[in-house]
Amino acid sequence: MTVVFEKPPETPSLERVRPVIVAMGIAVLLLVAILLAASLTGMSGLASDFQMRLQPPSWQHPFGTDMFGRDVLARTIKGLALSFRVGFLAAGISVVIATCLAIAAASGSRIADGIVSFFIDMTMGLPHLVLLILISFALGGGAAAVVIAVAVTHWPRLTRILRAEILQVRNADYVAVSRNFGRSRWFIARHHILPHLVPQMIVGFVLLFPHAILHEAGLTFLGFGLEPGKPAIGILLSESMRYLMAGKWWLGLFPGLLLLVAVLCFDVIGNGLRALTDPRGGRS
């Protein structure tokens, strides 16, 4: 008889969790800033002030001012709020699409599985940005088009993971027992399978969110996303291109930097959550 000693699973020590806590702190700060900005900088920050055109960063305007004398910090935070809204919606819709398709693929029908896998191949076979441009072109641009375009391009990987998860859970012993007790397919799906998917869905959402934001900014930067009048990060950066040659570096630096911080935060949080939910300990 052999005795197998299993290595105890690595507990999330403080060392490993620290970046996640820091990221959460920054994320909360950003969210508070966005909520406050809605009420505080409402008018004063975005009002044009031609006396203060293109001022470099100072104590009064930490991020400097733009070509109409508007505060870049206020506009960036406004832009981030817009990005968060688009990213939140797009990631949410993406998770819903992924869940539906994963359930269809794992339902047992080979045809459904084949169709879903064909859709996945198709979506992955196109460069995301080209598909985003095509969808935005088809829908005529605007916020709704961006949300739909980003949602439609981001589901494949989560779908694969959820499908694998469902297939694994479906063959588990307790599901077989439940089936032998005469439970209906619907009951098993609701009480045994869906609860298993929830952690993956949450992790998927948190990981998709920053990428949705990134793609929104890229699409808007290229001129296919949100309308030019809106203070989106992509618009701020594409406007800044015209003033870079004149040495107005702050217009290009700060909006992107804040976007990077936001994306990085949610990436770290998502990866931390994944490590917590992954029974195999995840990868550091």
Partner: protein, 334 residues
């Protein structure tokens, strides 16, 4: 060996199906667009064209027929090699694409090569010394860079090197006002430098992260322990066991990331006004140049899907137990 051929054959059939599927979807999307192709074609001349002439144009282009017929015509002409006429560049789509592709392939190919070589080396280095300072720095670099928007990196490079230090040109693939045949190789490289850097920086981060994880796995394996017991030095083990085992996964990831490479090149080419396929995509989309947009869509799909197929085959080679690309969480976040 028979199953091996069947595997490749199935992949090729899938590739053809994907291309056909993308053709249908892209055509439908273009049809759905509120941009009227005749308006887009006429441009400012729109005021001088009456309804009769519009009807004539529509008839000549076959726009008065149902969408199904239009699709059949378009698809069959694509199959015979006729990609259509690009209004934006006033040239045949095939010419535009081949010309643009030539300048893009230099950019993308070099970026691909650099991100492969540098990313792989960094990943090996970090994975061989997990937890050390060098590993931490490489990991930090890779994490931060993987979350950075490509176009923002491009803008930063522009601010620092073109505007601040004035080392590199601001735009385009050659000096302005110089005939294309007079441009020297050195000038071309000079103009290529920044777009190439912007594009490589991101690729490096990804390959480095992947290779690092793989390398840590390898360094903990039994055969490395055995090699150590035989008295092999760390350098020996890394070169003889690590590099060989980590190379295939890294190459696989490289092939699977062609889509992102092209997406990155669209953004980088836009920032630097580099006349490649990426900026042609943007022009086609903004001006409603449907034939060009559809042709680029199909071409990039072919390009990326072949990359995905090669990656899939390599996965199969690397680990015959895996039937297709392994799904790990790492890939969700890309």
């Amino acid at each position: 060996m028979g199953s091996w051929k069947a595997f490749v054959l199935i992949r090729l059939v899938r590739l053809a199906l994907v291309l056909a599927g993308v053709a249908v979807v892209a055509f439908l999307l273009a049809k759905l667009s509120p941009v009227d192709p005749i308006d887009a074609y006429l441009g400012p001349d729109i005021a001088r064209v009456g309804p009769e002439q519009r009807a004539l144009i529509a008839q000549k282009w076959g726009m008065d027929q149902p969408a199904g017929v239009q699709f059949a015509k378009w698809f069959s002409s694509i199959l015979t090699g006729d990609l259509g006429w690009s209004v934006t560049y006033n040239a045949s789509v095939a010419d535009v694409i081949s010309e643009r592709f030539r300048s893009s392939i230099v950019l993308m190919g070099l970026a691909w090569l650099f991100s492969g070589i540098i990313g792989f080396s960094l990943g090996i280095w970090a994975g061989a010394n997990p937890g050390r300072w060098s590993d931490r720095i490489i990991r930090l670099y890779a994490y931060v860079l993987a979350a950075t928007p490509t176009f923002w990196i491009a803008i930063l490079l522009l601010i620092v090197f073109s505007v601040g230090l004035r080392w590199t040109p601001v735009c385009c693939a050659a000096p302005i006002g110089v005939l294309p045949e007079d441009v020297t190789l050195l000038q071309r490289l000079h103009h290529l430098l920044l777009p190439l850097a912007a594009l490589s920086i991101l690729g490096i981060a990804q390959i480095a992260l992947h290779t690092r994880v793989k390398m840590i796995e390898i360094m903990q394996s039994d055969f490395v322990l055995y090699a150590r017991a035989q008295g092999g030095t760390t350098l020996d083990i890394v070169l003889r066991h690590g590099v060989r085992n980590a190379a295939l996964p890294a190459i696989t990831v490289l092939f699977a990331s062609l889509g992102e490479l092209f997406g990155g090149s669209i953004l980088a080419e836009t920032v630097f006004s580099y006349p490649g396929l990426g900026s042609a995509t943007i022009e086609a989309g903004l001006r409603g140049d449907v034939p060009l947009l559809l042709a680029i869509t199909l071409m990039t799909t072919l390009f990326v899907s072949i990359g995905n197929t090669i990656a899939d085959v390599l996965y199969h080679v690397a680990d015959p137990r895996i039937s297709s690309a392994s799904e790990t969480w790492r890939e969700v976040s890309q």
